[in-house]
Symmetry: C2
Subunit: 344 residues, 2 copies
DNA sequence: TATTAGCACTCTTTAGTATTGAGTGCTAAT
DNA sequence: ATTAGCACTCAATACTAAAGAGTGCTAATA
């Protein structure tokens, strides 16, 4: 028993109906609302088949049927490359993303905001990771007698501060000298190789500077460790309450607690790195707390390299057809903006 | 009819019982559990009086009684200066606050974490506002041909970055010159007066620098505006689900939505600036969404000036006696840490 | 052979009713 | 002034009946 055209149409109708109404769908409803030209009885037979094939689930004998994760998967796969975004939304995204935004982190945070506004789901975004990007400028700034601020600027326009302690005060002019020296030597190198590079260069340098740099070096290494910390933004977290499947307080709590745990969320977002857009449905998710959720993520890139993710999370009964193009569009726009504004 | 010693004792017993059990308290319960040496009937009479006086409320005729906001107020006022913190907790706070913390913002964020961990309520903290602090160092760092990073370091050790656009490229050495010039001229001035100060000084300076500084000036002003944005941290947001009063999904949603609105939360925290510790009970709160919540906040200071707030929010039925000393202690420790580590 | 009308059957949902029990307020006795 | 006793109130709980949505099967139909 395969899944012929009619079965597919019925399945799609059921999915559509369930996504909009959140209630099990019966044969009569399909027959009346969707013009398939067959009687409820026929649809019933087909539905029975679809259940046997694993695409539908019955909450109980006398209820209608509900799409399974597998049904959503089929539905989504048939959808991914088709849907285009509404022109209005497209324009809206383009203008609202950069509206009043100057810094990269703000841009990402704002992306999350726009995403949740447009979709009415909870949105997530991780800020550019700079581990793969290259150093552009390094500057040491005095804070007080025992504290130094190191500012790193990367080629992707990301700025990172690290404060660290020093043993003896270093004069302003000396700091500038060191800054210039470090910038000259380390510019263009990958952030995660700065430590090695620094060691390599150090041996050849004049004593005067060498002494001071020796003090600073372990700090630079520590600072680089700090860089690996990933910033996570979310928005529209309370949107989850809009969905009847989360009227159950324990479910809502479980979902929100999961989101509160930054590490898990980041891990979830980074699990697959390669696809432009990825959709994880229900049990496909690795974390128990969100096995009744779907996740739609897109990657944004810079110079062809993945540097971050944006996405939307909500019940498996998600408005995929509406959300997918929005997420896609946000990512595309982010790529454009990064290209234009953050490297010339 | 006043509120004599016995009435007070009964009221306290009721409050205590209600705080721990979250259920209306009856006369029999008080008579049995609290050794007041009187019969339930007597207690009933007293309770009736206490209700008339506005300290108790009856959900319905055949239920026990529940403390009113006014009762909590009385209770809290009698409490504030008495309760001492447990030694264990005190030590715990002291060590855990600075554990692995280098930057000021981390410190505040961590304070929120410790606070929610110790109290099991939702904690809030606002990071030091630097509007009142004074400039220590200013440094311009190149990002690319059209972008400049301005780093401000204040006397309270706060670092603030602002990225802005420039029209024509400025050389590295020129940037250092400008940075030095700006630092020299503006050091020690209040952050919110930098703009005026800059204007004053500018007229007297040599032409060469003046030209470039003119370009930079509007940016500095803009950057200063940015400084006024207040960072808010929260932790243990989902703790609210631990309280039966938030089993109602609409109440939980209302609470969480309120917390999602950063501006309102900040406004709430900043409403009273002067007290060391402040407790706002139920309807005393200005925002509708939290009129059944209590808020306990403390101020932390630096050089005698209020620079931030930490606090806890939860149902009016809050474990005041437990929470107040913890909040207090966190603030005291913050003061100490700031004193020690961020200015010598 | 595929479709469909008809109908019995299942199981949740809703409404209605009775019962229970916690707690009060009043009265009369101490 | 205190308290035992008791009638009364009202939410919470349990139980029952009825309604309704939807299915699956059978037999009739095109």
């Amino acid at each position: 028993m395969g899944i012929d055209g009619r079965k597919l149409k019925i399945l799609q109708a059921i999915i559509h109906n369930y996504i909009t109404n959140a209630e099990p769908v019966g044969s009569r409803t399909i027959s009346k609302k969707y013009d398939l030209g067959v009687s409820p009885a026929t649809i019933r037979n087909e539905m029975s088949d679809l259940e046997e094939l694993g695409f539908l689930v019955q909450p109980h004998t006398s209820a209608g049927r509900v799409p399974s994760d597998r049904a959503y998967r089929l539905y989504v796969d048939s959808l991914v490359n088709k849907k285009r975004i509404k022109l209005v939304q497209k324009r809206q995204i383009k203008t609202s993303l950069v509206d009043g935004i100057n810094e990269l982190e703000e841009l990402i945070q704002n992306s999350a905001k726009v995403l949740s506004k447009l979709t009415n789901y909870t949105s997530l975004a991780i800020a550019p990771q700079l581990i793969e990007s290259r150093l552009k400028h390094i500057q040491l700034v005095p804070i007080d007698e025992t504290k130094l601020l190191m500012v790193l600027v990367t080629n992707s326009g990301i700025v990172k501060n690290t404060v660290f302690n020093i043993e003896k005060e270093i004069s302003n002019s000396q700091l500038n000298l060191i800054s210039n020296f470090l910038t000259k030597k380390l510019k263009g190198h990958r952030i995660d190789e700065l430590g090695i590079e620094l060691k390599k260069n150090l041996t050849k340098e004049i004593f005067e500077l060498r002494d001071v740099i020796k003090d600073v070096m372990p700090m630079i290494n520590k600072s680089i460790d700090d860089l690996e910390e990933i910033d996570l933004y979310s928005d529209g977290v309370t949107n989850i309450f809009n969905f009847p499947e989360y009227n159950d307080i324990t479910k809502a709590k479980s979902f929100l607690s999961f989101l509160e745990n930054k590490e898990n969320v980041i891990d979830m977002l980074l699990r697959n790195k390669n696809q432009d857009i990825e959709i994880t449905i229900g049990k496909e998710n690795c974390y128990e707390e969100i096995k009744n959720c779907s996740l739609i993520t897109a990657t944004y890139r810079f110079n062809g390299k993945t540097i971050g993710k944006v996405g939307v999370i909500g019940p498996t009964r998600m408005a995929y057809a509406k959300v997918i193009p929005v997420v896609k569009s946000i990512a595309v726009n982010l790529n454009d903006i990064l290209e234009k504004h953050f490297e010339l």
